[in-house]
C-alpha cells in the first residue's frame, strides 16, 4: 500500500467513524444525573433513574426508538461543585433532561443555571419551598423545574398534626428544646417548627441550641437540653445525623427526641449507628423505612435489590421518585415530541400516576398546576408533586409520615393513622 493509499484509507475510516458516531448521537437522548455519587441520597436517585432507563431502553427506546444515555455529574454535596456539575451537563454533555438527587443547598446553587439553560429538570430530594416560590413569582423563567417530593411547608403542615395528635394529646408534652444544625436546611426547618408547630400545636419552645455540623461530641448539648426543662427534644439534623442519634442513645438522655433526622431515613441507619439508634423518630417523605409498599413500589425494590448489592441496599424515597419521575418525564416527552420547553412542561403537568394498595390510593405522582390552590394552606405549589395533607389522604401521597426506630433494630410508621404500622413510643430509659 502506497503512502497516498494509506492516507486515503485512513481518511475514509475516519469519516466512516465520524458518520457512525453522528448517527449514534442522533439516536440517543441524553439524561443528566446531578447529585452526590458517594452518598446514599445521591445514589438512590441515580439508581432509580438507571432502572427506569434500562426498562425504557429494553422496551424499544423512546421518541421513535432512540436510546437513553445517562451521564452523571458529581456534586459531592457541595453547592459550588453543584454549579460546576450543572454547567458540565448543560455545556459539555448537552443533555436533554436532568434528574437531580441534590440536597437543598446544592439545588439552590445550580438553580440559576437551570434558569439560564432552560433544561427540563426534576428534583427528587430537595424539598425547599422557596424554589416553588420562584415558580410562583417568575413562572416563565422557572417553568422547566419540577419537584416530585412534597415541599417542606407541606411536610411541616402534616407534622403539626403529628405534634397535636401525638406529642401533645397522646404524650402530654407541651414544651420543647430545639437542637438544630447550623445549615440552611436547619434554619428553614427551625422556622417552620418555631413559627408553626409550636404555636399551632400549643408547644412552648424553651430554647434553641444551634450546633456546628462538625460537632462530634453532643454530651454538653444534651446536658443543656436537659437543663432547659423542656419535655422533649426536637432534632433538626441532615448532616452526620447518626452521630447525634447514637450519642443520644449511648448517653441515655432522659428525654424523648423526635424531629428531622436524615440518617434515620435509610435502612442503613441501624448499621451506621452501630445499633445505637433505638427510639429515634423522624418525619420522612414517602415511601419511608417501615412504610408498607404498594405492589408497583415493591416491584421496584425487588429489581433494585437484584441489581445492586452495595449501599444503599434499599432505595431512599428519592429513588422511587427518580424511577417514576423519569418515566413520567419521558412520557411527557413522547407527547410533546421531545424536551422542548413549553410543550414538554404542559405535557409533564398532565402526568398522573396513582399507585394503589388494597384498592385504595397509596401513592400518587402528579403535579400541582400553576394557580391551583391547596385547600388547607391556601397557597399554590406549581410543579410540586401533588401531596395531600388532610386525612383520609385520597387526593395524593401524604406529604410525610413519621417513622420510629425500635430498640431491636426494626422500624415502623407511627403517623398518620392510615399508614401506621406501630405506636409512637419513648425509649426504654426515658421515664413516662
Amino acid at each position: 500500500m502506497t503512502f497516498k493509499t494509506k492516507v486515503f484509507a485512513g481518511a475514509v475510516a475516519l469519516a466512516t467513524t465520524a458518520l457512525v458516531a453522528t448517527a449514534s448521537f442522533a439516536d440517543t437522548v441524553k439524561v443528566g444525573f446531578i447529585g452526590s455519587l458517594s452518598s446514599d441520597t445521591g445514589l438512590s436517585t441515580l439508581r432509580g433513574a438507571e432502572i427506569a432507563i434500562e426498562e425504557l431502553n429494553a422496551g424499544g427506546g423512546v421518541l421513535g426508538g432512540k436510546t437513553i444515555q445517562l451521564v452523571s455529574a458529581d456534586t459531592g454535596e457541595d453547592p459550588t461543585e453543584g454549579i460546576k456539575a450543572y454547567e458540565y451537563l448543560a455545556e459539555s454533555e448537552e443533555v436533554d433532561f436532568i434528574i437531580s438527587g441534590s440536597i437543598d443547598d446544592v439545588s439552590l446553587g445550580w438553580l440559576p443555571r437551570m434558569v439560564e439553560y432552560q433544561i427540563p429538570t426534576l428534583d427528587t430530594w430537595t424539598s425547599y419551598v422557596g424554589i416553588i416560590d420562584n415558580l410562583v413569582n417568575d413562572y416563565e423563567n422557572y417553568k422547566p423545574y419540577f419537584m416530585n417530593i412534597a415541599s417542606d411547608e407541606a411536610l411541616a403542615t402534616l407534622y403539626i398534626d403529628f405534634g397535636k395528635d401525638v406529642l401533645v394529646d397522646q404524650m402530654g408534652w407541651t414544651s420543647v428544646v430545639i437542637l438544630q444544625e447550623d445549615t440552611a436546611f436547619g434554619g428553614a426547618i427551625h422556622g417552620l417548627v418555631a413559627e408553626a408547630l409550636a404555636p399551632v400545636a400549643g408547644i412552648e419552645v424553651k430554647e434553641t441550641i444551634v450546633y456546628d455540623i462538625a460537632t462530634v461530641d453532643f454530651a454538653p448539648l444534651f446536658s443543656r437540653a436537659q437543663a432547659s426543662g423542656a419535655d422533649f427534644i426536637y432534632l433538626i439534623s441532615s448532616v452526620n445525623s447518626q452521630v447525634v442519634s447514637s450519642q443520644y442513645v449511648k448517653l441515655q438522655v432522659p428525654m424523648g427526641m423526635t424531629g428531622v433526622n436524615v440518617a434515620a431515613l435509610g435502612q442503613e441507619y441501624w448499621e451506621d449507628t452501630g445499633g445505637a439508634g433505638g427510639g429515634i423518630s423522624t418525619l420522612s417523605p414517602v415511601p419511608s423505612v417501615g412504610f408498607e409498599l404498594d405492589p408497583a413500589s415493591q416491584a421496584l425494590v425487588d429489581t433494585y435489590q437484584a441489581k445492586y448489592d452495595t449501599r444503599p441496599k434499599f432505595p431512599h424515597f428519592n429513588g422511587f421518585n427518580a424511577y417514576h419521575g423519569l418515566k413520567q418525564a419521558f412520557a411527557a416527552a413522547e407527547e410533546a415530541g421531545g424536551f422542548n420547553n413549553t410543550s414538554w412542561v404542559d405535557a409533564m403537568l398532565k402526568q398522573d400516576l396513582v399507585l394503589e394498595k388494597d384498592g385504595e390510593m397509596w401513592l400518587r405522582y402528579a403535579f400541582w398546576q400553576p394557580g391551583e390552590v391547596e385547600e388547607r394552606t391556601q397557597r399554590t405549589y406549581p410543579h410540586n408533586v401533588r401531596f395531600d395533607i388532610t386525612a383520609p389522604y385520597d387526593d395524593g401521597s401524604p406529604s410525610m409520615v413519621v417513622v420510629q426506630w425500635n430498640e431491636d433494630g426494626t422500624a415502623g410508621v407511627v403517623y398518620p393513622d392510615k399508614f401506621k404500622t406501630q405506636d409512637f413510643g419513648i425509649p426504654s430509659w426515658v421515664k413516662k
Binding site: 458517594s38 452518598s39 446514599d40 447550623d182 441550641i209 444551634v210 450546633y211 456546628d212 462538625a214 460537632t215 462530634v216 461530641d217 454530651a219 454538653p220 448539648l221 444534651f222 446536658s223 443543656r224 436537659q226 437543663a227 452526620n240 447518626q242 452521630v243 447514637s246 449511648k250 448517653l251 441515655q252 438522655v253 432522659p254 442503613e268 448499621e271 451506621d272 449507628t273 452501630g274 445499633g275 445505637a276 452495595t310 449501599r311
Partner: protein, 283 residues
C-alpha cells in the same frame, strides 16, 4: 459547673493523647507528620473491622489497631521519611498527600458513610445530674494510661533516653553512639501506635468516617502550636486549655462557636509568643 468539669476532663484527656503522638515526631525528627490524622483513621477502622465486622473481642480489636498503627508508622518512616532525607517541606507535603490517599482507600474499602463504633465499655455513669458514658470514661482513662506510659518509657528506658538525646542534638547523640535512624524509626512506630489508640478512643467517642483524620490533625496542630512545638508538657497543658474552652463555649456561649475560640487562641499565640506558651523543642 460539674458538667463542665467532668466533660472538660474527659475531652481534654483524649485531646492530650491525640496531640502527644504528633508532637513526639516533631521533638525527635523535627518534621510535621501531616499523615498523623491518618494514623487515627487507620486505628479506628482496624478496630471497627476486627471488633465490629469480624466480631472479635474488643480488647483484641484495640490491640490489633495499635499494632497496625505501629506498622503504619514504621512504613511511613521507611518508605517516605527516610528516602526524603530530612527535606522537611517534601516530608510534610508527602505525608499530607498520603493522608488523602489513605482516605480514598478507606472510601474504597468501607464506603463514604460515617459509622458509629460500638462502645468499648458499655453503660452510663451518673454524676449528680451529669450523664457520662462508661466508654468516654474508659477512653479518657486509657488516654492517660498511655500518656503516663509514654512518659515513663522516655524517662526510664534506654531507647527512651536515646530519643531524648536525638531530640536535643541529633549529631551529638550520634557521636555518643546513638543511632538516629533507629531512634527515628522507633519514634514513628510509637507515634503510629499512639495515634491508632487515639483513633479507637476518638472514634468510639464520636464517629468513624473517611474524613475523620482532619479534625484530630487540626486539634493536634492547634495544641502543639499553642503549647510550643515539641513540648510534651506544653502539649498536655494546652490540650486541657482547649478541651475546657470547647466545653465552656458549647455549654455557656454558643455551640456553633465551639472551634472558633481555639482558632483565635492559635492566632493570638502566634502573634504574641510564636514559640508557643511552653516553647521547647526537646522531650
Amino acid at each position: 459547673m460539674l458538667q463542665i468539669l467532668i466533660q472538660g476532663m474527659l475531652l481534654s484527656g483524649l485531646y492530650a493523647l491525640i496531640a502527644v503522638g504528633f508532637t513526639l515526631i516533631f521533638s525527635v525528627g523535627r518534621v510535621l507528620n501531616l499523615a498523623y490524622g491518618a494514623s487515627l483513621m487507620v486505628g479506628g477502622y482496624t478496630f471497627f473491622y476486627t471488633a465490629q465486622v469480624l466480631s472479635m473481642p474488643k480488647p483484641v480489636g484495640v490491640l490489633l489497631a495499635i499494632l497496625v498503627g505501629a506498622l503504619f508508622g514504621f512504613l511511613k518512616y521507611r518508605l517516605l521519611v527516610k528516602p526524603l532525607k530530612g527535606d522537611h517541606v517534601a516530608i510534610e507535603i508527602s505525608t499530607l498527600i498520603l493522608a488523602v490517599v489513605i482516605q480514598a482507600g478507606i472510601i474504597l474499602v468501607f464506603g463514604d458513610a460515617s459509622k458509629i463504633l460500638h462502645s468499648i465499655v458499655d453503660g452510663v455513669w451518673q454524676f449528680g445530674t451529669v450523664s457520662v458514658t462508661a466508654n468516654n470514661i474508659a477512653a479518657a482513662m486509657g488516654s492517660w494510661v498511655l500518656i503516663i506510659g509514654l512518659y515513663l518509657f522516655i524517662r526510664k528506658t534506654h531507647i527512651g533516653r536515646a530519643m531524648q538525646a536525638v531530640s536535643m542534638d541529633q549529631k551529638g547523640a550520634a557521636i555518643s553512639g546513638v543511632e538516629p535512624d533507629k531512634v527515628n524509626a522507633a519514634t514513628w512506630v510509637i507515634s503510629g501506635a499512639l495515634g491508632a489508640a487515639a483513633g479507637v478512643f476518638f472514634a468510639s467517642y464520636t464517629q468513624l468516617s473517611p474524613s475523620m483524620w482532619v479534625a484530630p490533625l487540626i486539634i493536634a496542630v492547634a495544641i502543639v502550636i499553642v503549647g510550643g512545638i515539641g513540648s510534651i508538657i506544653g502539649t498536655l497543658i494546652v490540650a486541657h486549655i482547649i478541651g475546657f474552652m470547647e466545653i465552656i463555649t458549647t455549654t455557656l456561649v454558643a455551640a456553633e462557636l465551639r472551634g472558633v475560640f481555639t482558632m483565635v487562641l492559635i492566632i493570638a499565640v502566634l502573634v504574641i509568643r510564636p514559640r508557643g506558651l511552653f516553647g521547647r523543642e526537646e522531650l
